[in-house]
Structures are given as structure tokens and as C-alpha cells.
Amino acid sequence: MVNESAESGFTWEVRANSRHYHKPKQKKSFLCFRWGRSADNVVRSYKYTPLTFLPLTLFEQFQRAANVYYLLILVLQCVPAISSVPWYITIIPLISILSLRGLKDLSNDMARRRSDSEINSRPCDILISQSFQMKKWKDVCVGDVLRIHKDQVFPADLLLLCSSEPHSLCYVETADIDGETNLKYRQALSATHEDLTSNPSEEALSSFDGVVRCEEPNNRLYTFRGQLQWRGEGLLLDSEHILLRGTVLRNTTFAYGLAIYTGADTKILRNSGKVKLKRTQMEKVFNKVVMGIVLCVLLAALFLAIGSGVFSAQLMRQNSVLSALVFNSNAVYTGFLIYWSYIILLSPAMPIALYISFELVHTVHSLFIGWDLEMYWQQADKPAQARNTSLNEELGQVGYLLSDKTGTLTQNRLLVRQCCIAGEIYGDASVGAEDVEPMDLSWNPFSCGGLFMSAPALVDRLRGNQCPLSRQFLTALALCHTVMTEWKKQTPVYQAASPDEEALVGAARELGWVFLSRARDFIVVSELGVTRRYQLLALLDFTSQRRRMSVLVREPEGGIKLYCKGADIVILERLQKDSPHQERTERALELFAEACLRTLCVAVRSVPEASWEQWNKTLAQSATMVTCDRDALLEKLYDEMEMDLQLLGVTAIEDRLQDGVPETIALLQEAGIKVWVLTGDKKETAVNIGYSCKLLDPDSRIVEWDELRQILQSPDPRVSFFKPRQTELWAVDKEMAVAKTSVVLTGPELTEFDQRPEWGATFMSLAEHCQSVLCCRVTPAQKAEIVTLVRKHTSSVTMSIGDGANDVNMIKTAHVGVGLAGVEGGQAVQNADFALAQFRFLQRLLLVHGRWSYRRISLFLRYFLFKTCSFALVHLWFGFFNGFSAQIILLTRHWTKFNIAAVIVSVGLFFICTRITHNRFLFEQSPKEYIFLGASDYAFTDPVVWLTALLVAWTAVLPSVTAHALSVILNAHDKHKVHSVSHQSVELRSHFRRGTPLRRSSYAVSQGAGSGRHITSATHMRK
């Protein structure tokens, strides 16, 4: 048995109700030692413990080159022989920067701990010694049996044992996992269902002793392989039996589950990636600059040390006071020591104060982001929030915006906005959903609002019994679906697997065709107050290939009707010949498409009794057939039935976008930012949203995987990529044509990238020219992979935005992660660098705050480099006048004052004065201004930079050079006059001493006769 399970790869063993078996196996850690197999169910997103805080934070901080450099300088300063500057000059800023940074990290970590403990202490029922006890999430252990109530979130990955519903079905909402909003059902094994629900459940459950053998914890969300060993039987398990952590139980009173993976082993946490220390591009540039400065300092010190050696050697030849000060009477040794002294002296060239100021500027800027009223959402009382305060300037550099769809672009609300019945269009989509005049539906006792369509004409026709087609249309809506009802306070509440259906059934209810209830073989509908019971003969379900669904019902009067709804192409080709209203309906379809509404065609067919019987017989036969044949046969059968349809009309549903999404996307695209959509949802939905939020133009070419693969495989991908478009629109220039191309990919197709890593670069070079890229049906891990792909192959800054747990990984992976905290504060926000309430606030975050931050920080950096370099250069220059002795030019206390003043004044100045522009709405008028992407890359390669530096240096030297030149010219003739002062009268003349050439042929100080003797004795004394 054991061998067998090992062969099949099922090495993970879970024994139900045996804590004593699993507890010792839990992972534990002490310092850096870890042991144990399974994780406990405690979320630990914090980094530090009291013990590890100090070493960890120091380790992180000393990864910065400047901090290490300063530490070395500090060590050097403690050596008295070379200390040119007192030690406290360096240690004060170093300690303050380390502690500031450490405190900031600590407070961030405390916040993480708080949110962790909030999650860890969520309640759940655990079966302990024959009864369910209210416990916390963190108490869940592998092998525990849990009871989950309706609308609760599953605390771990569970095996569904049984539920309160018939057949142990249960419904889960997976929006946090894959972004799909429809309900999915899970069903328990019939073995567990039968045995565990027949007896009183708690006893049966506590005596349940099954053993689950399955694969090791992994990040594959949609697959699960395992085996339940129970009562000597081996029952196969797959993902249909698994309830994932993070999903929500819906429409089910309670479900019982066996914890298989807990905590860090759960699929969603396996998908969430690691916390990474994010660093900005600016910081990388800055680190490079630091390296450059250090190198320059070392070189300058070397040069000065050589000068000092020469100077000392000359001192040695004289009997002077100074020569006694040469170390060990050795010029080389003196030079060596002076080298270190100069390194210390020139070290302020490396602006450590800048780090402090950086932190300050960042913090203040983060506050500004939080304070911005234009990013405050009144409805939820949520201001924007900069959770990571050190990434502000990165906002001004974003090149790729990777967005989630559900909850981010869309509101997750579907509204029926228009319909077309018998060629007649009702409703007006050009009016915003909120502005629709509500119709008077008081005649309808079941009406409870939620219809954003104003069509009094339709209501009149329906109630006046004028138009049989429209009545049939609504009957179709009320019958042809898979919605379930639940009665609450005398009104039916609809629970749908598809939000589209829920919207349609809801609309029918408002108009008087109320779907009351469903049983296995009949559907009860109230048509304008008359309750009718339809016998459900067959349900021809929806698949993504068929793109339609039908119901076959027997009317109370006895006739058999087929009601069908589906995508327009599929329905239109199945209509009767010369179907009336077809032309006008097609025009309506175009109209709806222009308004970015999702359309469904509705059709009906009267089925003769004889053909139904015939068809039913064939259906019954095929049910007994082998699987793969059966599927094909069923499809054929369904096809036969859905023939000769009579078109009733078209519904038009609006997938409500968040406020201002199309405008924001248009603005960002104009600003040169590439917007990609990564969603777990279906391709059709994603493309539709792409159109409605102006991401895709109606006339843009969509490249799908097959075409893309051919292009990637072709020898010259770029040419083949642009080719089709060029032939099509030969007159339009190339760039324009390409800009209208978009790529649509799906998750399974993306896995091919793993096998062909060389495609990544090619794909990115093509994608750079595309209008957009849409990735559908991708897992959270794949979302992160796409982000990594973009990061790897472009130098652009990437930004991810999302709202759910499925976006956490990509939020963590991108340079900047934004979490939407619109309606509910989610896990995305916990892991994001910035939290916004609405997608549209992005334009302000990026185009105003990002831009300001970037420019301010750039100016700031420039100012600081200027300040520190000027300081170092003065000492370099002064070295020539003081015998290269590493003499500081200012008193040390003035130096500190100078630094502090520079920090405070500069921070103040840069916030008060350097407003980039007073016009707050500039970004709306010219978003193109945003593009100076990657300016920092050019900071040192642009010749203009070096020309400027040269000119500045020249301007700085010019006065001195002129003064020297003038003095040489003017004083040339009486140069010796000073020295040959004689008995003759001296004429008064003005002083012109500046020009006296420095005689460096010899240097020294000397005094008094016989000092040489003392010196030698003095040096002799020195021991």
C-alpha cells in the first residue's frame, strides 16, 4: 500500500481526527533551524522577532553601499594617527540614519503583525472530541474536521466531506482566487456523503478515520490529485472535492471539511510569492553614483597622498619645526597615513545626510499622497494611502501598468440596460445607469428594484397583451437559465452561477415575469401575476464551445417549446429562413456593441410532440454510452434540437466599469504608459471589457495565440508581426498601424513560454509596439510570471494594480504594487505599496504625485551631489596650500552646522519652492509631459551633462585664473622691487600681493638657531 502511494507520487498523508499524529509533524523553527513537515495555520507575514530584529535590520541596511562606506570611515576615524576629523562627525548621522530606518521598518512590521493577528484570530468551528468548538484560524491543524458556515471563508485547503445540501453539494465563490465571480459547486464523494449525513453528523464525523494520500503542497490552483483510504477502499480525489483557502462558502448552510493543507502549504499562499525588499530605480542610480564618488575619493586621496609624500620628503631635508612632525621621519609612511586621512576628510563627498533627507522627503511625500482630497473616496471614507513610503518617485517612472480586471476595472455588477424585441429597441444606454428614470413598477408585487432600463412602452405592451413576441421573450428569460431561488421575506432571491443570468432573470422579474422556484423537473413562473408551471423536459447546458444554452419545456397548455439564448453568431445561423425582424435586430446588435454592451440573442422554437419523443429516445440511449463518444453525440443531438429558431430579441447587458476607468486608461495610454490586463476570467469577458474601457479600439487587430506562435517561430518575428497590417493598410504608416494591434493570451498558452524561454525577449519586443496585451485565465502565479517577464526584458518600471488575493503575487513582484481598497479592504492592500479606493485615482497618483515626486527627488539628488562635491573639491584645492596635510578648512563644529543647515534648508526649500507647476490640471491637458521615462538612465551618458559640468568648472575657475593672469602682466616689471628694497625712498603703491607666484621649490617653517639639535633630540625622545 505504501509502495503504491509512493509510486503514484502521493507522499502527503493526512489522517482524519488525529491531532496527536499531526501535531509533532508541524514545522517549527528556532533561530534559523527549521524542522517538521506541515505548516501550521498561522499567517506570519512579519519579518522580525525581538531576537532577530537588530541583526536583520542591520544586515538589510548595510546592503547599502553608502552605509558600509560610512562604517569604514568611522573605523578609520578611530585611529588617532590618521583621524583628520573627530569621530562624532560621522557617527551622529550614521546612528541617526540607522535608527530612523530601523524604526520605520519596525513600525511597518508591527502593522503587519497586527493584520496577521486579525487574520489568525478569525473564528472557525473545529471538531474536537465529538463536538464542534469555536476556535481560531490559527488553531487549525492538518487532519482536523471543520464546519464552515454560510458566507464564511475557508481557513485552509479542505477535502469536502459532506454538506447541508442534497448530494453534499456546496457552492463556493472563488473571486479571491481567480477573479471569477460566478459561483462554482463542489461535491463530496458519495461514500462520505452517504455515511456521514445519515447518522447524527458530529458522532459520525468524529469517528471518521479516513486517510488522505495526495501530492505534496504545490501552487497549482486548478488541479489536485489524491486518494482517500477509507474502510479498505481507495477513492480517487480531484479538485472537485477540494475547498481552497480564501474561497467563500455560498448558498450552503454549512459544509464539513477535512483540513489537508494548512497555512503556508495552502494553494493560495503557495501562489502568493515572497516579500521582497523593493528598491527604486533612483536608488539604484544613486548606488552607482556612490560607487563613482568613492572611486573618485580614493583617486583624489591617492593623488594628495603622493603630494604629501613629496612635501614631507622636502621637509626632511630642512631643519624646521614641521620636519619634526613627519611620521617616523619617513616620507612614504607619512604619505600612507595622509592617504587615509584624506579619505576621511573627503568622505562627506558621499552624502550620507542625503539618506536622511531622502527618508524625510519620502515621508512627507507619502503624507501628501494620503492628504490628497482628489484621491479620497467619500462613499467608503477611504483616502489614498502610501504604505511603502520609499517608492514615491517610482510612480513618476511607470512604463507598464498591469491591471487586474474583476473589482479593479469592473465593479462586478451586471445591469440589463437595453433590449431589442422584434426589432424594437427599448431603453437608452447613452444615459448613465444612475441617471435612468425609474419606471413605475408598483403594479408588480415582486419588484424590488435593480432595473436600470427605462422602457414604459415595453411595459405597456406587455400589460396590454399587445405583443406576443415580447411576452415570449420574457418567458424565455424567466425559463432559460440555471438560476436557483431562495425565499427570503416573501421575495425570491436569485443565486446564479453566472452573473449574466442573474441580471437577466432579475430584469424579467422587474417586468412581471417572475421566476418563482425550480424543482428537478418543473419551473414555476409568475407571468404578470398568473402563476404557471412549466414542465422541464431537458436542459441543454452552456459550454464555451456551444456558446448557447436551451431549455425544453412543456407549457401548461401542453405544447412543447424550446427556449434558447446564446452568442449572436451562434443563434443567428440557426434561425428559420426569412426570419422576420432579423435585419433590424442585427442593426440593434451593432448599436449595442458600439455602446460596449454584452449581448445575448434569445430565440424560441415550437417542438412537435413526435420529434421530441424521437429525440428523447436517442438522448436516453446516448446516456449509456462511453464517455468520449457520448460527448460528441450529445453535441450532435443538441444541434439537431436547436434548429429553425425564431428570433425573439436581444438583451444588452452592461458590465459596470468602475467610475472613470475608460478616461483613466485613455489618459495613461496618452502619457505613454502601456496598460495590460491580467485576469483569471474568461477570454470573451476580458476582451469585452477591453473594448468597453477603451483599452482596445473597435478597429484594432487582435492577435491570438496561434498567430502569435507562428510569428514567434518565424525567422524574423518583427517583420511577420507587422506584415499583415501593412498589407491591409498600406497607406497608413507603420507605427500607426502597429499601435492598433493587441495581443490576447490565455493561461494555458502562457505555459509554453516556460518551455521556450527565448520567446520572452521576442514577445516583449513585439508587445512594446502593441496597444495592449490581455491575459485571460491566468493563475496568480502566472500573473507574477508575466510581471517578471516584463521586468526582465524591459528597463521600464512596472506597476501592478489589483484588489483580490489572486493579485497579491503580482503586486509583490512588480516594482510598484497598488491595492484597491474599494468596497472591502482585501489582502491586496495588505501587500501593496500604495492603497487606492478607486482605479481612476491612478491618474492623479501617477501623473501628479509620481511626476512631482520624481522631479523633486531628482532635483534634490542633484543639489546634494553639488553640495557634497563642492565641499570635497574645496578640500582638494586647499590641499595645495597646506602641504597636503589633510587640514580641514572649516572648524569641525562649523562643518556639522553647515551639513545640518544644508539638510534642513534643502528639504524646506524643495518642498516650498520646487513646485513643478502650479497648474494642478496640467496632467489632464498634456499627459505627454509625463514621459521622461528613465531620465536617470541618461544622467551619466548624456554629453550635455558633461558639457554642463565642464562649463561650470570653467566658470568657477575663471575669476581666479584672470586674477592670476592680470597680476602676472601688471607685476612683471617690478617683481623684484619688493625684495630689493633699498635706502631709496619707497613709493607708495597699492598692494597687489595676490599675484606673487607661490614658490613651491621648498617648503618649511623654521626658527632660531640650533633648532636642528632640538629636533633630533626631540625625535630621539619620542618613543
Partner: protein
């Protein structure tokens, strides 16, 4: 109302500061601003430069070199001998009045008082009058902290040891009679040095404080006997000592020696006539190619004579004007056609 407030508890304040609406000024650097701006700045600089230069030129400076490195110069014999207190004298004639107040400086060139280890070679505690530092001078004074017999040197260190020790007297010859010009040696040191940094130990007589110590190697007299004429001008607060201890920043420097006492004939300065400076020549500078000189100078509102500042202003000013012309040409050449 209350409910509404609680609903928007997180609403940010709508103030000019939080909404970044504080008034700010952002110059738009267009040609219309930059070119006139440059001209204005240039003209202003040229004005300041001319003013500085004229002022500087109006300052009277008289420099007399007495190093004596060329044969025939008055102090050449003294510069070659090693005799202490060698006497030599320097004559000069003033043809016009030297406007007062006149300052009397000595100048040294090629003298590195700014050498770091030279500068560090003193004991601040000792100079503050701390008697414990008298007996054990700081190691920073090394090798001038103890003499060959291990006695502590007070004041220790290289700076004190190398104190300038030439002395001067100024005489004026009027109608064959020689009169001394009174020199005022009070208040020539920095206020902070005299009142704060340097202090004699509170021991009377001062001599007792120096028991068990020796004078600096190169000194002729101990610190408490520096000024025989004025007992209060001795020890560490001796004005000449303080002037010397305040290090010069550059290798060519001058230090204030005395002021010409503005009384009697000298109220307006040094009148025209023949003058003689009697020099007690002690300080050797030829070993390091140094030079010594005597400088008479008066001051103006900008301090002593400094032509560099005026020149610097002039250069930058003219550079601005030249650049504005260049920019104007560039602007005219490239910008105007566009606008039409």
C-alpha cells in the same frame, strides 16, 4: 450632522498645505526672461566689481621686504649670521600722508602654518590654564611636549615653539632729529582668543605656575616674561602670542604687529617724511626659501586690500553680459523664423 462627520472621519483636511496649493513661484526660463536677466545680473556684478576694485585700489599698502637674501640689502648680514638679536634697520620715505588708521603687519611667505599636524600640535587645556596639563602636556604636542631631560614644556607644541620673535621699532626723522613713533600693541588679538580660549592659571605671581616646567626650546624668554613692560600682558594672554597662535589659512600671510598710535603728529596717519625701522632680526626663514616683510596698510569698509574679489565680480559680470549676447544671437538665429 454628527453622523455625517463620523462617516467621513478619514477625510483629509482641505488646507492649502495638505493639498499642495501653497503659493509658489515657478520661473519659466524663456529667452525673454533669461537674456535680460543675464544682462541685469552681469551689470550688477560689474558694478559691484568696479566698486570693490576702486575701494581696494584706494587702500594704501606699503610692503618692505627685509629677508635679506640678496647681498647689499640691509639685513643680509643678519640673515646669514646665527647671532641672536642681530640688529638691522630699514629706511623708507613717504612722499604723501599715509592715511590713518595705519596698521603695522609682519608678513611671512612660504610658511605653512596651515599644516594639519602643526595645527594640532598644542594643548588646549594647557593654554586654558589647566595646571595638570602643565605637568603632563598632551601627546598632541609631541615631539615638543617634553625636553631632553623629560621636563614638560609650557606652552607645549609646535605652534608655540615656532613663535615669531623679530621685533621692530619705528622712528621718524624730522629736521635731523629722530622721534619714536608710538606703536599700540593692545587689542590686536581676537576677542575670543583673549577672553575665552586662552587663560593664565590663577596663580600669583604667574611665575610660580610654571615651576617644574621649561620654556619652549626655541624661546629666549619664558612665557611669563614675554612683555617686560606690562605685567598683565604676559603668559598665554600676551597679545603677540595670541596673534601667532591664531593660525594663518594660507602659506603667504601677514599678521598684525602693532597699530600706529593716532596721537600728536600721527592723528591723521603717517605724515610724509623719512622713516627708519629698527629690526631685531631673530627669525630665520632662508632655510625654507621663505621671505619676511613689513607691511603698512590702512583699511576701508571692505577690510584690507583685496583685488581678487573685485576681479572675480568683474569676470563673472562680463561673462554674463557676453553670454547674454551669445544667447541673443542664437535666439535671433533659431527662434525668430519659427515665430513668424
Amino acid at each position: 450632522m454628527v453622523k455625517q462627520e463620523s462617516e467621513s472621519a478619514n477625510r483629509p483636511d482641505n488646507t492649502a498645505f495638505t493639498q499642495q496649493r501653497l503659493p509658489a513661484w515657478q520661473p519659466i526660463l524663456s529667452a525673454g526672461i533669461v537674456i535680460p536677466g543675464f544682462v541685469l545680473i552681469g551689470l550688477a556684478f560689474i558694478g559691484i566689481g568696479v566698486a570693490l576694485l576702486v575701494t581696494s585700489r584706494s587702500i594704501q599698502v606699503l610692503e618692505l621686504d627685509y629677508t635679506g637674501d640678496s647681498n647689499g640689502s640691509p639685513c643680509s648680514s643678519c640673515s646669514q649670521s646665527v647671532i641672536a638679536n642681530c640688529k638691522c634697520s630699514l629706511n623708507f620715505t613717504l612722499t604723501t600722508l599715509f592715511q590713518g588708521p595705519v596698521f603695522f603687519y609682519y608678513g611671512l611667505s612660504n610658511y605653512f602654518q596651515n599644516y594639519r599636524r602643526y595645527g594640532a600640535s598644542k594643548d588646549d587645556n594647557q593654554l586654558y590654564g589647566d595646571l595638570s596639563s602643565f605637568t603632563s602636556p598632551s601627546s598632541s604636542c609631541s615631539p615638543y611636549n617634553y625636553d631632553s631631560s623629560k621636563k614638560p614644556i609650557v606652552p607645549c607644541g609646535s605652534i608655540a615653539n615656532s613663535m615669531f620673535n623679530d621685533t621692530f621699532t619705528l622712528t621718524r626723522t624730522v629736521n635731523g632729529t629722530t622721534n619714536n613713533v608710538t606703536l599700540d600693541g593692545k587689542g590686536i588679538a581676537w576677542w575670543t582668543d583673549y577672553n575665552i580660549k586662552y587663560r593664565n592659571p590663577s596663580v600669583t605671581p604667574l611665575k610660580n605656575a610654571f615651576n617644574g616646567t621649561v620654556k619652549p626650546i626655541n624661546w629666549a624668554k619664558p612665557a611669563y616674561e614675554l612683555d617686560a613692560s606690562d605685567p598683565s600682558n604676559n603668559g598665554f594672554v600676551n597679545q603677540d602670542f595670541l596673534v601667532w597662535m591664531r593660525r594663518a589659512a594660507l602659506p603667504n600671510f601677514r599678521k598684525l604687529y602693532r597699530r600706529i598710535d593716532a596721537s600728536g603728529d600721527y592723528q591723521k596717519g603717517l605724515p610724509a617724511g623719512n622713516y627708519t625701522i629698527d629690526i631685531t632680526y631673530n627669525y630665520p626663514v632662508r632655510a625654507f626659501n621663505g621671505a619676511k616683510k613689513i607691511v603698512f596698510s590702512n583699511v576701508s569698509w571692505m577690510g584690507g586690500s583685496n583685488e581678487f574679489l573685485g576681479i572675480a565680480y568683474l569676470v563673472i559680470g562680463s561673462l554674463c553680459v557676453v553670454m547674454s549676447v551669445v544667447m541673443l544671437i542664437v535666439y535671433a538665429k533659431f527662434k525668430f523664423p519659427d515665430e513668424e
